[in-house]
Homo-oligomer: 284 residues x 2
């Protein structure tokens, strides 16, 4: 069967209802398109767990702040469509802005605790846009399983909290970060980087590597590791640090010692391009 | 089959999934209990449209403002249970507060336009509590149809907007106001009234009657009708008017002329008891 593309909310919802009636389990990968291997690895995770895999492509205006890159965000639907077909996606849901938001849209879903720090602090309102659109996509596609990437670690935790607090009957699966051969985390925004910026961006991965090695070597004190991470990032003069955060991986609250899984999350600007990356530091 | 009572979210959700798998259509009447004929009329409406009727009883703490009547709100589960059984309810969902809200609950659903006026202005935060709990109940009970009473006219419009904007696949049915023989709109809060307050509370219905008659007689100017409504309410010295509002029934925006269905909504305090009532004025 060839892949379908739906642009209408109602068509998508009816189709999902039909799949459910047929007893199929639905998987959903919400994306903003401009797909890379990171997204496609999530398709494989959904495929393992469900019978019918939907990938949504929607550059969600309400999760971009004024002055951010909503208009310039890279888009290439034809390429995305071909990649989805190759990856075995059953249906691409590709609505436009009018289809998703009425001009008098007035209902929002907001997470008020986990979303306040790191990216939420740098991008006020961002996660309210994310939770609202994901709640909508869950109601439209009615997935049994939805797959998100660990690269957006805070987003994963916020979505998991939304599912818990609103009693949404969707299993959230988090796929590992997929990296370029040299270690740069895959991101649609990498295409903003100049060839020289592309090389400088490796400082993110290098600083995470160093932190992992320090923890493996027995270091547990966050301030010591943090200093090393800052030094690595700062050795690249064109890297502007937005944040370096060490957070409990469950609660996203700051920690001083590594005694449980700790999320080390970075946001760094290389020129005008804001990149994020993270790793979970363990001390078994 | 005798009626079931479920207190657990997980049990309720699993049971609803089973009903859906069996091809049954689910009806839901969300209530705060202390049931009266108004609620039971909604059961009949759900029964007509669905195969399996769930009535939820939950006095939702987050829709009460500080200083409001959350603790004193009347509760009588045994009586409610018997009324539900008589009315042919299939399942009563009766969770406690801990079951509905984790101590670190942090996700809310908020409507930001229709909920700002009348009751939303008098009770800031009230509708955020309502939309959050109704979104949760929809995810837990998974109804095809949910029935609400027109007595809470603004609540009905806010819920309809939530369903539209979050693409929730639930049909909202609104049941007409049910009144005592003398015209007082049924409400669990009527039991707060003293015998003399009970008589004074009739000024609400009398003022709505007068407005309806004026419109039937051809009056279209809101300011003229409003003056008559205020005069009727003010003739009762112990009635303290919270609001008298003439609003477009769709958009809940104030109107000056009655050219389309107009919601005339009242909130009046009789002693310490805040009562609401409304009617839709037509000019066919």
């Amino acid at each position: 069967m060839s892949m379908n593309v739906f642009a209408s909310v109602q068509g998508m919802q009816q189709c999902a209802l039909g799949q459910k009636k047929a007893g199929h389990r639905i998987g959903l990968i919400p994306t903003m398109g401009f797909l890379h291997e990171g997204h496609l690895s999530l398709v494989a995770l959904a495929r393992k767990r469900t019978d019918w895999v939907v990938l949504s492509i929607f550059v969600n205006p309400i999760q971009f702040m004024p002055g951010e890159d909503f208009l310039q965000y890279p888009r290439n639907f034809e390429r995305d469509e071909a990649l989805c077909e190759q990856a075995g996606v059953d249906l691409v849901f590709y609505p436009d802005q009018k289809e998703m938001y009425s001009t008098d849209h007035s209902v929002f879903v907001e997470e008020t605790s986990l979303s306040s720090g790191i990216c939420g602090a740098s991008r006020p309102g961002h996660f309210k846009g994310v939770t609202t659109v994901v709640a909508k996509l869950f109601n439209i596609v009615m997935p049994d399983v939805a797959v998100f990437g660990q690269k957006d670690a805070q987003q994963c935790r916020v979505i998991q909290r939304m599912v818990r607090d609103l009693n949404i009957n969707v299993e959230i699966v988090v796929g590992p970060i997929v990296r370029e051969p040299d270690g740069l985390a895959m991101s649609s925004r990498n295409r903003y980087l100049s060839p020289s910026g592309r090389k400088k961006a490796l400082c993110l991965r290098h600083s995470l590597d160093l932190a992992e090695k320090m923890v493996q070597a027995g270091e547990r004190t966050v301030s010591v590791i943090q200093e090393a991470v800052w030094a690595t990032l700062s050795s690249e003069p064109e890297a502007n640090i937005d944040y370096v955060a060490f957070l409990d991986h469950e609660t996203l609250t700051p920690v001083l010692l590594i005694q449980r899984p700790v999320l080390l999350a970075l946001a760094v600007r290389i020129g005008a391009t804001r990149l994020i990356d993270n790793t979970v530091l363990y001390s078994p």
